[in-house]
Structures are given as C-alpha cells and as structure tokens.
Symmetry: C2
Subunit: 988 residues, 2 copies
Amino acid sequence: MNRVELSTFVFQCTESKYIKYNTTSTIVPGKLNVHLVPHSHDDVGWLKTIDQYYLGTNNTIQGACVQAVLDSIVPALLADKNRKFIFVEQAFFQRWWNEQSEEIQSTVKKLISSGQLELINGGYCMHDEATSHYIDMIDQTTLGHRYIKEQFNVTPRIGWQIDPFGHSAVQAYLFGAEVGFDSLFFARIDYQDRAKRKNEKSLEVIWRGSKSFGSSAQIFAGAFPENYEPPSNFYFEVNDDSHDSPIVQDNINLFDYNVPQRINEFVAAAVKQANITRTNHIMWTMGTDFKYQYAHTWFKQMDKFIHYVNQDGRFNALYSTPSIYTDVKHAAKEAWPIKTDDYFPYADREHAYWTGFFTSRPALKVYVRVMSAYYLAARQLEFFKGRNKSGPNTDSLADAIAIANHHDAVTGTEKQHVAYDYALRLAIGYKEAENVVAESLAGIANLTSKTGWGFQTKFHQCPLLNISYCPPSEVDLSNGKNLVIVVYNPLGWTRNDVIRIPVINENVAVWDSSGKEVESQLLPLLDVSVGVRKYHVKAYLGISPKTTPSFWLAFSATVPPLGFSTYIISSFKSEDATSVRQDYKSESRKDGTIQVGPGKLKLIYYENQGNLAQYINSKSLVKESVQQSYLYYRGDEGDQIVNPQASGAYVFRPNGTYPIKSDNKITRVYKEKEHVEVEFLVGPIPFGDKIGKEVVTQITTTLKNNKTFYTDSSGRDFIERIRDYRKDWDLEINEPIAGNYYPINLGIYLKDNSNELSVLVDRSVGGSSLRDGQLELMLHRRLIRDDSRGVGEALNEAVCISKKCRGLTIVGKYYLRIDPLGEGARWRRSFGQEIYSPLLVAFTEQDGLDWTKLHLPTFHGMAPSYNLPENVAIITLQELEDGKVLFRLAHLYEVGEDKDLSVMTSVELKKVFPYKKIRKVTETSLSANQERTEMERKRLVWKVEGSSEEEEPKVVRGGPVDPAKLVVNLAPMEIRTFIIEFNLIVPN
Amino acid sequence: MNRVELSTFVFQCTESKYIKYNTTSTIVPGKLNVHLVPHSHDDVGWLKTIDQYYLGTNNTIQGACVQAVLDSIVPALLADKNRKFIFVEQAFFQRWWNEQSEEIQSTVKKLISSGQLELINGGYCMHDEATSHYIDMIDQTTLGHRYIKEQFNVTPRIGWQIDPFGHSAVQAYLFGAEVGFDSLFFARIDYQDRAKRKNEKSLEVIWRGSKSFGSSAQIFAGAFPENYEPPSNFYFEVNDDSHDSPIVQDNINLFDYNVPQRINEFVAAAVKQANITRTNHIMWTMGTDFKYQYAHTWFKQMDKFIHYVNQDGRFNALYSTPSIYTDVKHAAKEAWPIKTDDYFPYADREHAYWTGFFTSRPALKVYVRVMSAYYLAARQLEFFKGRNKSGPNTDSLADAIAIANHHDAVTGTEKQHVAYDYALRLAIGYKEAENVVAESLAGIANLTSKTGWGFQTKFHQCPLLNISYCPPSEVDLSNGKNLVIVVYNPLGWTRNDVIRIPVINENVAVWDSSGKEVESQLLPLLDVSVGVRKYHVKAYLGISPKTTPSFWLAFSATVPPLGFSTYIISSFKSEDATSVRQDYKSESRKDGTIQVGPGKLKLIYYENQGNLAQYINSKSLVKESVQQSYLYYRGDEGDQIVNPQASGAYVFRPNGTYPIKSDNKITRVYKEKEHVEVEFLVGPIPFGDKIGKEVVTQITTTLKNNKTFYTDSSGRDFIERIRDYRKDWDLEINEPIAGNYYPINLGIYLKDNSNELSVLVDRSVGGSSLRDGQLELMLHRRLIRDDSRGVGEALNEAVCISKKCRGLTIVGKYYLRIDPLGEGARWRRSFGQEIYSPLLVAFTEQDGLDWTKLHLPTFHGMAPSYNLPENVAIITLQELEDGKVLFRLAHLYEVGEDKDLSVMTSVELKKVFPYKKIRKVTETSLSANQERTEMERKRLVWKVEGSSEEEEPKVVRGGPVDPAKLVVNLAPMEIRTFIIEFNLIVPN
C-alpha cells in the first residue's frame, strides 16, 4: 500500500500549471559545478550490424536505432538553446546526414556552429586501441575529421574513447595530441588502477604517451570514475524497462511528488564524485549505449534537475560538453599528475582480464590487416591513374576498413552475424578497389603501347592466395601461353621478396622483363593445404575448382619503390631442363641433425629432441637454441561457487595448460633473409570434449630478460612490459597468465645483455613473456561460454558448407629473429613495415606475343634512382576528391632505438613526385583537418605535478618545409601529414 | 553470412538523397483503401498505476510513458499535415494538457480543430463493460466529454472500446447511440463468433443493443479481425525489443534494401483483411499498448508505406481515423448484418473464458460500487449546499471513480500495487466528499438555527460500517449524551429501511425527531464479526480500537425523497425496560422446523436437511423450497501437456467442484420486506494446500426454467441467457461451467410458468444458472497461477498487518426473492435501485440539549409532498463549475417488464426544485456535451440486411420538455439528461 497516511493526507487540488525550467546556468566559480554531458554511445556494430543499428532493425536483439537518436536530437536542441549534445560516430552521422532534407541540414549546421551540437572524437567509429593498427586509426579518423571539416568547417576538440577495452599510448599522443585534441576521455582502466587513482584523485592526468615526443605530445586525459553511464539512478531513456530511475515528479497534482528527494540524490551522487576529483568541476556522462532514441525524455529530466538543483543552491548543475569541461579544467591552473605508457591490459575485476580479445576472431583480424595494406597500395595506384569521377574507387574499402576498426569489430567481440557483416563490407570494398588496382596497373603497363591508358588488359589478383587458391596462376601454359605477373611495391624503398604462386605443372620457368631467366623453386603442395583450399573455396565461393595445383612456384622478385616489375612464367618442355631451377630442401646431416636455411641463417634441428633447434646466423654470429612449441589453455567456464567468470570473446581466463603435437607448421628460411618465417595452420580446434581451447605458440630461448619484454602500441611505439608488475600501482596478481598478456600488432621482443629475441606478427594477437627467455603468442581461440560482457555468444567460429560446419581454421605467419643486442630494431621496424605492406601481385595472360615489348615492364612511381630512407614509410598517398593529394610520411624508429636509423631523416618531395609539379604543400594535423601551425597555436598548456619542464630531454621534430627545396625532415617517430597541390602533369 | 552473391554484387555508390514522402492520398473509390489509424492504447492503470504510466516511472515493470506519447505526437503531426492520430483516455490527456505551455496548448487546439488529432471515446478511461455499473460509465464518460467540449469545442464521434473483455448491450446503445457516437469499435469477441463473422464478413454490424429502443438507438459497430494491433510485422515502436518488424529500408546505400518486399507484405496483409470485410475499405489499427512513445518512428514508416504502396498502385494507403472510416462505410450504402444483445462472455480460445474477472477482487468491486453511490448522494448534498469555490468538493471522488472503472481496475485484472492505488484514490476522494457531505448536512440542519449555514456541527460517517466499525456510534451515552443520526435518502421516493449501527451498551433507545420512540432491535455481535473488525481496523487504520461494541442496534428509518430524517439515540437506565424493543429471533417449532421472518415472508428450515428451506410468502402465496449452499471450484493450474491455461485474474477455468460447510452466513428477513437478505463472509480462502479456489453460492429451487435465465447488462437491461447456447453461432462447448458465466451488476433471475426466482447483488459478480431451477454467484477467488494474459501475478489477495498477511476476507450481501410470474421486475428494479443507493447515515453528538429544537430535523429536498414515481431515479443531480446543474433521470423499467411500471412516466421539475426558479432546461446527449436535438440531427442512417424497418415495433420516447410546464416524460428505459439553469434562489 502506498505509504500515505490517509488521515493526514491533504489532496492537492491546485490546478496544474506549465513549469518553465530555468536551464540557463553556466559555470559558477564558488560552487561545485556538475557538468551534465548528454551523449549516446553508438557502437558501429556489435550485437547488430552497423546498418541494423542505424535503421533500428533486428530490434529483438537490441532495441537500438541511431537514426532515431539523431532525428530526435534536433528538435530537442531547438526546444531550448541551453541544451547541448555531443555526437561521436561519424559512420552513423554521415548515414543520417545524407538522408536529411536541406531544411534539417541547415538547422543542424546552425546547431553545430552554435555549439549546441558538438561533434567530438569524430572518426568513423570509436576505434579499438589494442587490435587496431595505427595506420587504420589514422585513416578512419581522417575520414571522419575531413568530412566534418568540409561539411561544417569544424575541428573536433575532444578525444572520446569511452568504451575501448584499455587505452594505448598511441591513442594519447597520435590520436590525442597530434590530431589537435585538447583532451581525451575514457572509461575502461584496470580496476586496481582505478581504485588507486580515485583514492589519489588521479583519474585525470596529463598523459605523455610518447617517449620520443614527451610533453610536446601530451594531453589532458580523464578516466571516468565508473563507466560512461550516468550515476546509477539518472537514466531517462524512452521505453526502457532495464532501468528504474524515478523521474523528477514535480506535479503536485499527481502521486509521488519527489523533488526534494531527487535533488538530495543528485547532490549525494555529486558529492561522491567530487570527493575523488580535483577542482570543483565534475562531469556526468548523461547517456550510454544507444540512448537518446527519444532525446526529449532525457532533456526533460535534465531540465528539471538543473532547475531544481540550482534552486536548491548547494551545487551548480549545467548543460555542458567535454570541451567546456576541458576548458574549465585548464582554467583552474591545477598541476596534474603525469601518466606515461598506456592503460593495458584492462581488467574490470579479479579474474576478468580483457586480454582474450587481443586474439579473438583471428581470421577477421588478418582480413582487416590485409585489407588495410591493400587499401594503402590501392590508393597509390589510384593516385597514379587519377581518381575516377565515376566508376570504381577506393572509398567503399575505406569505409569498410574504418568500420572494421570499431572496438567491437576487429576486436572480435561482436556477434557472429555482425562479424560476417564486417567481412562482407571488406569484401565489397576490396572488390571495387581490386578494379581500381587492375585499371591502374593496366593503364600504366599500357603507357608505352599505342593505346595509352586503357583497360583492354585485364589484371587478375588472388585474394585467396593464403588458401593456395589463385585461378590466374593455375592456368595451363603448355599451349604456348605466358603468364604475366606484375609485382607492385607500395613501399618507398626497393625490395626483394619471394613470390609464391600455385601452379598446376612443374614444367614452368620464370623470366624477368629483360628476358633473363630467374631462379625459381618448386615445392609440392601439402595435402593439408589442398584440403584447406578445397573446403574453403567451396565455403567462400560456392564452387569446387576443377583442377588442383600440385606445386608452389617460388621466385625472388626485385621491385622498385612505388613501382612495379614484371615477370613472365612460361612452360618449357620437360627435356629442356632449366639451369636456374633450385630446390632448397632441408638437409639431413651425418651427425643426426637436420639443417634448414640456404643463406646466412641456418636452423639446425636435433632429431628426437622435439622442436628444439639451434639458431645460427653466420653473419651476426648469433647462436642460440630455440624451442618452438604449441599448447593450449583450457578456457575457464566459470562456476557459481568460486567465480562465474568464463573465458570468452573479451576475457582470457585460462584454466590449465596442455601441450599440442604440432604437424601443420612450415618453417621457412630464405636465402636473402636473416629471419625465420613460420607458417602455421591451427584448427579446427577440437570441440568434441566441450572444452574451450585457446591455442598459443611459445618460443623459448635461454635469454635472461629478467621479466622484461616489449610490445608495440597499436603497431607503433614499443612499450616496456614487466611480468607481474605495473608501474602505476602495486599489482595484486590474480591471473598470472592473462594478467601478463598485452596486445601485439607489430611485434614483441625481449633482450638480455647479449641478444634480442624478436617476433613479428601478421595480424593483431595477444602475447606475453611468461618465463624469462620465452615469448608467447595466442593464435586462435574457440570457447564454449559467453563471458558476460554483453555479446551473449560463445566465441565459437565455424566455416560452413550449406549447413554443415566445422570449426574455423587459421592459417598465418609469424617471423622470428635473434639479433645481437641493439641491432634488433632495424629488422623489427623496416622488415615490420614490409610485413604490413606486402608486394601486390597481379596476373594477366599473354598469348604468344612478347609482353615486355608492348608494355611498360618496370614502373617507377618515384624518380627512377630515388629510394626513401629505410627509416621512412609513405603511409598515405591518396588523391582526394578535390584533386589535392593527401601525403603522409612516418618515421619508423623511436628515439634511441637504432644507432643509425633513429635520426632525423628526409624525403625529397620533388623526387617522390617526379612527374608532377608541386604547387603547394600544406602541413596539417594528423587527421588533415587543420593546418599544423593553427593546431599548434591553439594547443593548451598544462601544468604537471612534480617535474619541472627543464628536466625533459629536448624534443626534436622536422622543421617547416621550404617551398623551394620541398624536402621533408622527419625526426624519430614523427608522422607528418601534408596536403599537396599540383600543377598540371608534367609531360614525361 | 549475408546472402549477397559477391561475384554479382554491384555496390551502389550513389550519393544518398533526402526522400520526400508523398502522404497526401485520400480515398480512392475504385481501389482497396487501407486506412492506417495511428493510435496508442493507454491503460488507465494495469501493471503500473495511472501516474506511473503517465510519468513513465516504474519502467522496469513496463517501459511505458504516456507523457512521452503526447509530447511526441505534437511535433510528429506538425511535421506533416496529412498525418493523423487519435487519442482516447482523457485521464491521461488532462494530466498532460494541464502541464503544457500556452504555446503547446494553442498548437494542440489547432491540431484538434484541423482533425489531425482526434479525441475519440473521450471518457476518462476505456471503461469496462462487464463489471462497471452504467451510472459510473455515464459519469466517467461525461467527465471526459464535457472537458473536451469546454477545452476544444469538440464532440467525440467514435466509440473505441478496443480492449475491454467482451461488450455489453448498454455500451452499444447508451455509450454508442445515446452519447451521439457514429460508430463503435472493439477487438475482443468470442473466438468462435469471430471465426464465423470472418467467414460471413459480419465483423461489422449494425448493433441494436436495446430491446426497448431498437433501431432508434442502433450503432455501426466493428469488431477487429484479430486485435487492436497492426498486422504482425508492422510495429514501429522506438526502443522496442519485443517485435521485429523490418522498417522500410529505401536507402540504396545501406544494406538490406527491402522496398518491394515490404510493399508485397503490406499488400498481402491487406488482401487477407479485405477478404473478410465488406466494402473496399479496411482499417489497420496502427498501434497498441503504450506505443508512440516516440511517435516519429511510427509515422516515419507509415509515411514510407503510403508513399510506396501508392506508387505501387495496387492498393491505396492513407492516414485515416475511425471517423473517416465510418463515413466511408456509411457512404458505401451497404446493408449491414444486425446484431442484438451483447458480446458476453468472451473467450479468446478454447478453455479460456474471460469470466473470472466478473468476480476478481470482490473487495475492490464493492468499494467502487459503494463509492459510486456515495458520489451520487454527495453531489446531491453538494448541490443543496452550493458548490465550494475553494475547499472540499466531490471532484477528486469523481476522478477516482472514473479511473476505477477502467477495464483493468474494477475488473480486478491489475497488479496488486495498482489495485491499492485505485483504492487509495477512492479513499482520498471519499475523504474530501465526506467533508462536503458533512458540511452540507450541517448546513441544512443548522438552517433553522440562528447561525444559518455553518460548520460548527461536525457530522461523522462510518465508511467501515461493513466491518462493524463506527466510532461515532460506539460512544458511551450513559453520561447523558445523545447520539444524533441523520439519515439521507438520495432516491426520489420516500423509503423505509433498517439502520444498523454497532453500540457498546444495550441500554439505548431510539427516538424519532417528533420525540416518539422507535421500535429497535439489539443483536449481539458475532465473534467472527468482532474478529474481522479487529483485524481490519488494525490493517486499514493502523489502530486497535479501545472498546468493542457488543451489539448491533437496528431500527427502521423512514426518510423523505432527496431529504433526511433525524433519529436520536440515548441511554436509559436498565430498569426502565423500553416497551418498543423487539428481538426477532428464529423460532424453533414443534415439528422440528425453524422459522425465520417477522413479516409476510417466512423461511422454514428443516433441521438435519442442510440448507434446505421452505420459502413462504403469505401475501403473494408463493411457496417454494430453496436450498442455499456454498462450494468451490478448484482453479485449474494448466499443464504443458493438454492445455497450459490456468484459472487467473481474467480467466475462469474450473477443475472440479467441492462443497463447503458454511458457518459465516447470516440470513435476514425483515418485517416490511418480502425478500431474503443474505450476508456472507467468505475468506480467508485456505491456501495451505496450494490449490486455487473460486467460491460460489448456489440457490437451488424446483423452478423449471428450461436452460433460460436473465442477467443485466451493466446494471441496466436484462438479457436472456440460454445455457450452452449462443444466438449468433452454433456453440462448441469446451468449458460447460465457465462458458455459461455472465457478468452481474444488478441481478440474475430465472422463471418458469409460475414463478420467478431473482437474486440481486451488492457489487459486480459473475453468475450463471448451470442447472434448471438453480442460480449461482461467484463470491470470491484466490488463485495460485497467473493466467497468461499479461498481468503476470496470480490473483492472491491478502490483508496485512505489518508484514504478516492473511488472505482477503469478503463480507457481502445478496438478496433473494421469489415472485409469481410477471411480478419480479418490480422488486428487481425498484428495490435494485435502493440497493445501489443506500441511505446515507451521519452522526453527531448532542450534549444534553434537544437537537430537534435547534436544528432542522427533517429535510425535504423536493417539494415536501412530492415523490418521484417508483419507476424513475435521479441518477445525476450535480452543480457544475459554471453554476448550471446537470440533471439526469432514468426510467428503471424495460418495455413490457412490468404491467404497471413499464409505462411512460413523468417528473415535475418544479417540484423537484421547489426552492429554485428554473430559467432554462436544455436536453443533451447522455454525456451532456451537445444538445439532444443537434445529436439527433447528425445521426447517421444505416441500412440493415433482411428486415424492413416496418417490422420493428414503434419506439416510444418522452417528448420535448415544455418550458412552461417543465414536466419530463420518460418512456421505459429512457435516460434523459438536462442542463438546468436557475435564477437566483427563491427565498424559502
């Protein structure tokens, strides 16, 4: 029974009246200011696909419709000019914007220019920070930022990574400072770290994520006290039966009038937060996943709170944004704690380390990585050809990659149908980009023919080469046809790489474009590879290839920077044995060892000693025993007694270690290379025992690394990791394995006083060094339980033909090298860049005629003799829609990393663009949405605790580009972004 | 995987464009017209209280917020002038309206006057039709209709009873035709009936609900093909994870473009409905419970459907309303099937007869009934006193009763906390009305005192008299104080009734105002009554009365019409034995029988023969054996094998019959009355065996009624019922007990060639005649299962003291009489009205002085000698806010029901209002929102199948009121409503 004492109840029969709420409050200096920041966190795919989220379909999975959020925000903001809203995900915003009438567009422009609607973060998505590569992060941020700039002439000020599962150093300095943000906010940091920071009021810090740049790339960074939601009973979503926050009931004619009670609750929640926050400003994130589907319901209540709280007078409540909040934090002249390195790994409680997602969905992860590299190369070729006004371009691939870098995409934490959607988008984007590439290669190759640019030559490519499927190379050349192979090099330096293609006949030889036969090697296709090929071609393409190649044909190709070389494969009669055919095989020696390696590096295996080998580099004189093994962790299923936490898509929680006998592993050592290439095939992970398994490989050496190892930050800076230790707090160890896992995008290494052991990866994986001398990578996971973080599915990937499914198989590579101490960086950095940007191979058939005479056999995109220095990569070369060119150079080395290469380096733009006349070069922010000088001018200066600025080593950066010389200098780790305008093409 | 063939997929890279949807379509004559009728069905309490629904609180029970519906409708309608919306429940609308700014109010007025927003049905709630009394239905409809008229100058045209659980004849003719509606729509009719009507295209009918009025009170009535929801995949509620209707995806840049598919689905759903509907117009009810919380999401999709369906061209889709739909149905000149009687009982499938709710929550049902009567009387007294400009009035009681007549309120189908809310509102309303009554009585009584109108006399009332609790009468009079009892008669005729009050001392006597002692009777309070009193006073009021009365003092009071009499109770010394004290007791006779009854009616019980008695009326010479017994049905719990249907708040599904030994029953026969009054006490129903029980009483006679019996329609017309039979279809009998239950508000009777057996009730109950000669009433229910119709609670009422609860006890009465054939109606009708409108008793103490000399002891509200005829009741006498008076007379008899009383009768207004001068009398529609003549002028004429109009007997109605004579004539069953304007009060 309603607890109203009838005997004392006086029914309020006053006529109701319209109440006009006073929401005009701004900052009040003497009071605690509660900044109400209305926001909606809209995952670019998770439980539903991006379009389902946008459109509001598939609502039985989740009642979520971003279209409704944006539709309803507009009138809600118009209704009261004091109301504010931030919007983040441009993938959604652009979908919506394109559907709006001119009238709505004009209204929205006004709301944006008045600051009522603020676009922050501003990339396509809120990218992941553990499993996204920094090049993808740059691309997806640039896509969003440039769109915002073009449409609204606005530059986002705030980083808003509120949901990603841990935070990378790169995020702080590249996607914070270098994109020109004034602050960066996030929610997910380790629960132990959070507890300490609350206690010390150090949730808000100055984050210096870069060792190389120090304070010059620092940013004000705030971790939220709990998450990115409002205090517990301040949820006001329409039609939401998941929360029960009483609205402010201020109508005395209705039951349950509660103004005093609600205001007290507001004050109490504010006090709680004020107690752990510096300055008299606190921020309430008023929203969460897919909220504001009817924005009015939130604003109506916030209006009331602002009105009554300010009437109450104890505190000051106001509509705010993170920008306003940042400005007042800055204005407070407070000295803030310093934070370096990163916020990995993330655990939200004991036994819940979110380190599983570093590896979850390894096939999607590699697909994203391969597409990322392809997109980089395709844009270069699109630039050479000239961007199509109509017809295929690289935009849909750009879209697909941007979306796939969302923190529930490449992470592997989405539902299965959503993972398929990301893959489909990548495939569609690839398909279109493949046409761009084929057109461009044909056009360039035909430059010397009479027809000039034209598409009569059709180049084919082989995206399924990883499963030994390449129809263009699997042709019968016995009838006199030749196979023309064009090999494009997207890097700025000449490179030499082995090309491997499947062929159906062994009587084939390889010629270079000068007519010289090239040394080649034939390797039989393993049965396991044939099986994988057959199953997956059927599963993915729905067809069964009529023939099966018998061999891999391997040959070494040499390709100029930003250019291509041409090789011709033709058949010969078997009796004409070629002189340059060499079949490198492992060599059984008399002493009972097996030796592998045609060049300076040799691996010597001791029979009957498992996987133990001797690693001997006759050049560097490194000699080290290396054991390579596979094992799996049993994925904990959780229980109701001790701890319900299961291992799942997010969380890695191992429960026991079990060795695996490994068959399907190929170890390659190339003649010209001083590293080991390991190709592995993992899967289907057996599931009949209903035990989840997480498969890892361990590389064990005798190096004494004293618990210390290094992993990259989003593929860029290497960060020191110490086993069972955190720099920021005294670690309480609950998960000795999962708690030592870190994300790896480029590589992981360890060192002792003599040597460095480095492993580079072909995709994002999780890894660690759990014992001295040992590195570990997690390669694949298959689990039977959901780990209760929302996705609601066990991570159990399958590949199906019709409705018959088998567990997912992963084919992949990693690369291993041991260098003398101090010499490892060169391989990690320069070869690492080659792993990221492989040669692009295209095929066409030539019927009898001599291809090389009719076509351009070798293409130099840069001046023919010019190579970029080994420490620089062109990470963006892209013709924009307005004909200008976006050009981005990255110094690949950190300060002090390599004695020769960690130095200022330079790029001569005139030689990079020999065929065009550069009219203007404008350096911009990383995301190319404002001039660099303007960005630097606006940068906020922050005070930090303890250190005086003089202590910091002087930061070196390349200076302005002299318009006459057009030479770009780059200091270690520097990424410089330019918009280049050209005059008409200079005749060749 | 998304089933897109990648190989043939062409990515649509066209720029998105804003699409302006064409929603301008109106009726297209040659095509099937699909009328999209946007609506929200907003229960005035059900799972949440009315205010929780309005405000959107308690959302974890149900995500529902009517405020949001109304807030969002306004901009949605403004966005496109072709969009329309109907709103129904005025209890919600008024809450919202009162909170709006003048700007919004002005906008809404425009939307209403343009017809974009149409207020239909228009009562406070969508009242129930089984358990609501017609007087409550009139009051709640009038409240809403007059408000709409005053605010918007609008008269609702449509009855929209889409959710009540079966439909009453009274609804059709009183709340359809007599309120001036053009049509009536509903959804819930028996599944067998529906199937047949679909087959015969007879869901839409001309319903003649009144035998007395025939075609003069007919209405076009449409039952929906399924329910009041849209076709199965046309739901577009924001943030709704309960449906999965694909939106119309017409953006070719996004995935899942589906326009052709959705249009085909639309067409298919329309064809399905067209196949069971006459004319080329079908109506889609686009909405359901608490939808349109963000109206935009619905309209956006309907815009698209209208646009693309009309582009498709097969059918015509349009925004419509039931008014537009009715007009086109009328314009079609179709002849429609005729429907008579009603749509009870309602079953939605086999074994699911919604006949349990006829009795569910019997305490709430009687509370509503008692408050209804009190409200009627209180308004009379408020009229005599003059309506307070400020201070207490009867409005909050009006509100509470209106809300309590919602179809999930008095029905008992709400959650427990909601039932408490209704009760609390009634209690609050009563409390205020009690003050009005006390003030008025004091004012009238004091008229003869020097002070005139004034409140120095405080009258007390005893709302808990039914549990023997009446502090004003439980005073100690031994010290010379007198207890003054004022007895007010709200009926139009003089009446004589027994007053029963608890007293603590037996030495008391009763005097009338002339000083004559009145015969009285003292009856000891039974132990069981003392127990009930003690427990419930503690439970309801939180107190333990210090004394306990020992006796009921009963005496017969005679009260003038619309007036009061005064009685004085005082003590006498025990030795002065009073001469007029009579204690009627049952008399044990020599032949082993016990005889009860002091007057013409006697009941003679045969010992050792259970409850069998002889009913002997020495005046009417009726002699009949009557057996009165109690039993219970076991409530079926449902199972997963045969049928999961359980007996619950809605559904009655008995599973076995078990006799009950009855102790707590009091049978009274009064001297002047020729009926039996049975007071019963049922409960707590034992629950320890975990078996649900539904307690009934059976009255068994030897009358041979040949399966035929009669029950009232909402307390008014009696309708013939035939066991195991329906007039409209061949009944397939699945539930031989539940399927023969009907709602009873006034009474139930049966007859044979000689006699009539009638039972009248004190509240709404379910009842039947399951065997010839037998009548059955269900008195109480306690069940262990929810019956799966949404309420989600088992009907298991309890009364608690602190947290200790016991099952609900029901104390109630029914009245039984046997008349010679043809003579029963007189008792059923006139005494039935007395049951509805009991005497109102108020108490005050008088200290020694002679009350009657200082006060007006007898009050005649009408001219002192004037009585209304026995066949007429004043069902409304109410001063309106503007000072005019709402006056409503009801003829109580049907045509042919009684040889003397089923005739034209008349009321002399001058004698009803002897103290005021009538300036103007305007006859209005039943709900007093338009002049009667205007309503008749607008009435649509419909063609019906088969019958020619001449066959119908001539309908008789009272003619216009001559302004000079001011006599109102009323034909049988006529209810006439007047607005009366008075000149200044004529001095008395």
